[in-house]
C-alpha cells in the first residue's frame, strides 16, 4: 500500500471515529446563555452590561423595570414615596430571605444601600446617586433613603443596587467576590473560573417558581462563535451579536440606551461658532450609517438618550444630511472671518471596533467635503479617555471626540450633567441660560420633570449643539429553536421569563 493510500485511510478512519461521537445533548431543564465576557467578579456593586447579564437571576434590587415599557416597578420593595424633598421611604416585601437564610428586611436593605454607596468602597455604581446618600431602617419592613439634595429619580437609580446578603459580604474578608448570595430565583451553584457560571433553581423563591432548573453562563469573545454555539445546539441564547452574524437562525433585536455620538470642544474657533457645529452635524448621513455599517441594527439618533429615558424629546427633529447646506454654513462662517481651515483632530478609541472606525472615517470624509480640515487620531482606550477628560481643554486644542453613551439609569440628568453642564466630565459649554434651565428642571419629578428635561434637550439641540448624536444601537440576540423569550431594553436575561420547549 502506498504512503498516500495509508495516509488517506488514516484520515478516513479518524473521520469515522470522530463522527461516532454524539454532539452535546441539550438538557431541556437547563438554559445555556453565551455572553461576550466573563464577569471579573460577582461584586453586587458592578453596573456593567456583563454584570447585569449575569447577576440578575441571583441578585435582586428594590426595583426592576417593566420588560415592555421600561417603567420602574416593584421588586424587593413593594412601594415607595417621597416623604420630604430629600427622603424616600420604601416599603419592603415581607417573607423574603437571602439564599444563605439571612432575612431580607429593612436592616439588610439599609446595610446594602450604605455599603454600595459608601465612597470608601468605590463601587462601579457609586455615581448613580448623589454623594452622601444614606439609608436607615424605620421598622422591620420600612426603610428611608436620604439624599443630601433633592433627587427625584432615586427609585430609578436604585435599579442597579443589587441586594446581597450582608452576612455573605462581611464573611468575604478578602473582598474577592467569588460568591453571589442574593434573593433571586436562582442560586449560584458553581463558578469555574474561565469556563462557566452555573445557577440552580431557588426552591424557596418568594415569587413564582421558575420552570428552568439550571442556568449556565458561558462566554466567548467572538460574536461568530456565540452565534455558532446556538446554531450547533450548544446554547439557547447568544447575546450581543454583530450584524454580520444575523443572516441565519432565530434572530431578535431590541433598541437599547446606547448611542454613538461625537462631542465638540466649544471654546476655540472654528468649533466655537455654532454654524460650524451645525455644519458638522449636517454632514453625517445617519441613515446610511445605520443601514450599511450597522446592517440595519441601529437607527438615526436625534439626541444622546433613547426614547425610554426620562427627558427624551420626540419633537427634536433629525438633523438632515445635506452637504450643500453644510458647505453654505462653512462658507458663511469663513466670510465672517472664522478660521474654518484650522485643523480639527477627531479622537477615537482603538477599542471602538471596526464598524465605528469605518463610521468615523466616513464622517471625516464628509466634513472634508464641506470645506473643513479634520484628521482622525486613534488612541488606545485609556489614552482616549484621558485626552477627552482634559477639561478645560488646552488653549490651542481643536478636538472632536467619538463616544458611545448609555443612559442605563433611565433619566437624562446624568447625560446632561456629564456632557453639557459646568463641571461635567465632557462639558465645555458656557451658556448660562441653558445651565439655569437645567438647574430648575432637575428639581422636578413626574411628568413635569419629563417635560422640563425635554425642553432642556431641545434648547441644547437648537442653541448649543455641543454633541452630534449619530445612531442609537440595537442589542442583537440569536435564540435556539423552540425558545420563547422576548429581549428586554435593560439587557437582562431573566431565566424565570424563559420558556423552553421539550
Amino acid at each position: 500500500m502506498s504512503v498516500m493510500r495509508r495516509f488517506a485511510l488514516a484520515c478516513l478512519l479518524l473521520s469515522l471515529f470522530v463522527s461516532l461521537i454524539p454532539a452535546q445533548a441539550q438538557d431541556p431543564s437547563q438554559l445555556v446563555v453565551v455572553i461576550g465576557e466573563e464577569p471579573p467578579n460577582l461584586d453586587p456593586g458592578e453596573g456593567t452590561i456583563i454584570a447585569l447579564n449575569t447577576y440578575r437571576n441571583t441578585y435582586e434590587a428594590l426595583v426592576t423595570r417593566d420588560a415592555a415599557t421600561g417603567e420602574i416597578i416593584p421588586e424587593l420593595a413593594t412601594s415607595w414615596e417621597l416623604v420630604n424633598p430629600t427622603t424616600w421611604r420604601f416599603t419592603l416585601r415581607e417573607g423574603v430571605s437571602f439564599h444563605d437564610g439571612t432575612p431580607f428586611n429593612a436592616e439588610a436593605a439599609a446595610w446594602n444601600i450604605n455599603y454600595l454607596f459608601n465612597p470608601d468602597n468605590n463601587k462601579h455604581i457609586l455615581g448613580n446617586v448623589p454623594a452622601g446618600t444614606t439609608a436607615t431602617a424605620v421598622d422591620e419592613y420600612t426603610m428611608d433613603v436620604s439624599t443630601p439634595e433633592p433627587f427625584p429619580v432615586l427609585p430609578r437609580a436604585l435599579f442597579f443596587a443589587n441586594m446581597a446578603s450582608p452576612t455573605a459580604i462581611q464573611a468575604d474578608t478578602e473582598g474577592a467576590f467569588r460568591t453571589m448570595v442574593g434573593t433571586g430565583p436562582y442560586i449560584l451553584k458553581e463558578w469555574i473560573a474561565g469556563d462557566r457560571i452555573v445557577l440552580e433553581k431557588n426552591g424557596n423563591y418568594w415569587g413564582d417558581a421558575p420552570e428552568i432548573d439550571e442556568v449556565v453562563y458561558v462566554w466567548r469573545n467572538e460574536s461568530s462563535v456565540r452565534s455558532a454555539m446556538v446554531e450547533a445546539g450548544e446554547a439557547h441564547i447568544a447575546a450581543a451579536l454583530d450584524a454580520r452574524d444575523t443572516s441565519s437562525g432565530n434572530v431578535v433585536a431590541i433598541d437599547i440606551s446606547e448611542t454613538h455620538f461625537i462631542r465638540m470642544d466649544l471654546p476655540n474657533p472654528p468649533l466655537s461658532d455654532i454654524r460650524i457645529r451645525q455644519a458638522i452635524c449636517m454632514s453625517i448621513d445617519r441613515q446610511s450609517i445605520a443601514d450599511r455599517l450597522f446592517g440595519g441594527y441601529a437607527s438615526p439618533a436625534t439626541q444622546l438618550i433613547a426614547s425610554d429615558v426620562v427627558g427624551y424629546n420626540p419633537d427634536i427633529s433629525l438633523v438632515r444630511f445635506d452637504l450643500e447646506a453644510a458647505k453654505a454654513l462653512v462658507d458663511a462662517a469663513r466670510a465672517d472671518g472664522v478660521p474654518v481651515d484650522n485643523q480639527i483632530t477627531v479622537y477615537l478609541s482603538s477599542t471602538a471596533g471596526d464598524v465605528t472606525i469605518q463610521m468615523m472615517v466616513a464622517i471625516v470624509q464628509w466634513t472634508t467635503e464641506i470645506g473643513l480640515n479634520l484628521n482622525l487620531e486613534i488612541n488606545e482606550a485609556a489614552r482616549h479617555r484621558a485626552i477627552a477628560r482634559e477639561l478645560p481643554p488646552p488653549a490651542d486644542r481643536l478636538a472632536i471626540f467619538w463616544g458611545q453613551h448609555g443612559n442605563e439609569v433611565g433619566d437624562a440628568f446624568g447625560t446632561i450633567q456629564g456632557y453639557y453642564m459646568p463641571g461635567g466630565i465632557h462639558s465645555t459649554g458656557d451658556d448660562q441660560a441653558f445651565f439655569d434651565m437645567y438647574a430648575e428642571a432637575s428639581q422636578l419629578s413626574g411628568q413635569e420633570r419629563q417635560d422640563a428635561l425635554a425642553e432642556v434637550l431641545l434648547y441644547q439641540h437648537e442653541n448649543v449643539m455641543a454633541t452630534c448624536p449619530i445612531v442609537h444601537m440595537k442589542f442583537i440576540y440569536k435564540l435556539a429553536d423552540g425558545l420563547d423569550w422576548q429581549p428586554r431594553p435593560d439587557h437582562l436575561i431573566l431565566a424565570k421569563d424563559v420558556v423552553l420547549s421539550q
Binding site: 468605590n122 462601579h124 462563535v225 450547533a232 450548544e234 477599542t351 463616544g403 461635567g424
Partner: protein, 307 residues
C-alpha cells in the same frame, strides 16, 4: 552537567527579574487603570480616590519597591478587576496553555517529520509538491480565519465537535488543529530543507557506497545531523504557543494564559500582567535550558564545549 544546570538557572534568575522590572516600569509609564475601571462619567474625585487606594499616585520607584518586596514572596498583589491574587489566576490558567503547547508540538513535530522526510525521499513527486503546498498554507493561512471555518464545518454543519470551550478532550481538538497548522507548515519546510542538505552531504555518499541501508542512513546519520535546526525552530514555536495562543484561546474560549495576558494589558491590570510575565519568563528559561540539554544529548561536541 548538574553544575552547568545550576549555573544556567542562577543566571536565569537575573533575566526573569530584569524582564519583570522592565515590564513593570514600561507598563506604569503608559498610565493607570483608573479611567478604564471606573464608569465613563466618573468624577475626578473618584478617579483620584481610585488612584490613591491602589497606590498609583506614588512615584514609580516607590511602587517598584512595593512590588519587589511582594514579588520576593511570589506575591504579585491582587487583580484590580478580578479581585483575587494575581499569582493564583496565572497558575490556574497556565496548565491549560501548557497542555495545548505540549500537544501542539508533539503532533506538529510528528507530522512535519513524517511528511518532511517522505517528501525528501520523493523529490519533485506529487507528494513533495503537496508537502510544499501544505507548508505554504500553514505559514500563510490566518489562524483566526481557520478557527472560524473549522467551527462552521465541524461543529455547526457536521456536529462532530463542540464549537468551543474546555473540559473534555473533544474541546481540545479544534484548538489543537488550528495551533498545529502553523508550526507544522513551518517545521515541514525546515525538515525538508535540512534533510535535503544532509542527503547530499559527503558522509551519506560514503555510507551509501559502503552499502548501508537507506533507512539506517536516514535514521542514524542524516536525522541527528538535521536535528539542530529542527529542534531550534520547534522550541521557538513551543515558546510562542506557551506564551499564550491568544487568538486560539480567544476564539475557542479556551481559558489559558494568553487571553488572561491580553486582558491584563488592555485593562492595565498590573498585578496580573506582572505575574504573567514572571511565570512565562520562567517557562521560557526552562524551555531554553531543556533545549540546551537536548542539544548536548544529541551532539557530544556541545557537551565537550561546555565541559
Amino acid at each position: 552537567m548538574l553544575k552547568y544546570i545550576l549555573r544556567r538557572l542562577f543566571y536565569s534568575i537575573f533575566v526573569v527579574i530584569a524582564v519583570t522590572i522592565l515590564v513593570f516600569v514600561l507598563s506604569r509609564l503608559t498610565g493607570d487603570p483608573a479611567l478604564l475601571y471606573l464608569p465613563e462619567l466618573a468624577s475626578e474625585e473618584r478617579v483620584e480616590a481610585f488612584r490613591e487606594a491602589y497606590g498609583f499616585n506614588d512615584p514609580v520607584l516607590v511602587q517598584l519597591g512595593r512590588f519587589m518586596s511582594g514579588a520576593i514572596r511570589l506575591d504579585f498583589g491582587t487583580s484590580i478587576w478580578q479581585k483575587v491574587p494575581a499569582s493564583d489566576l496565572v497558575l490556574n490558567r497556565l496548565p491549560l496553555t501548557l497542555v495545548l503547547a505540549f500537544f501542539t508540538m508533539v503532533v506538529s513535530l510528528t507530522i512535519s517529520l513524517l511528511i518532511g522526510i517522505l517528501a525528501v525521499l520523493r523529490p519533485q513527486s506529487l507528494f513533495d509538491t503537496l508537502v510544499t503546498t501544505i507548508s505554504l498554507l500553514g505559514v500563510t493561512v490566518p489562524s483566526f480565519w481557520l478557527a472560524l471555518i473549522l467551527i462552521l464545518v465541524f461543529a455547526v454543519e457536521l456536529g462532530w465537535l463542540p464549537t468551543s470551550g474546555s473540559g473534555t478532550w473533544r474541546h481540545a481538538i479544534l484548538p489543537l488543529t488550528v495551533l498545529v497548522w502553523g508550526p507544522t507548515g513551518y517545521l515541514a519546510r525546515v525538515v525538508r530543507t535540512t534533510m535535503m542538505e544532509q542527503l547530499s552531504a559527503g558522509y551519506l555518499v560514503t555510507g551509501r557506497s559502503k552499502g548501508l541501508a537507506e533507512a539506517r542512513l536516514l535514521a542514524r546519520h542524516a536525522l541527528p545531523n538535521a536535528a539542530f535546526p529542527i529542534i531550534t525552530v520547534a522550541s521557538a514555536q513551543f515558546i510562542g504557543v506557551a506564551n499564550g495562543a491568544v487568538i486560539v484561546e480567544t476564539v475557542f474560549g479556551w481559558p489559558g494564559i494568553g487571553k488572561l495576558t491580553i486582558d491584563a494589558i488592555q485593562n492595565r491590570d498590573f498585578p496580573v500582567l506582572q505575574a504573567t510575565v514572571f511565570v512565562v519568563g520562567i517557562v521560557v528559561v526552562l524551555a531554553n535550558l531543556a533545549l540546551d540539554l537536548i542539544y548536548s544529548a544529541i551532539d557530544p561536541r556541545v557537551r565537550l564545549a561546555r565541559d
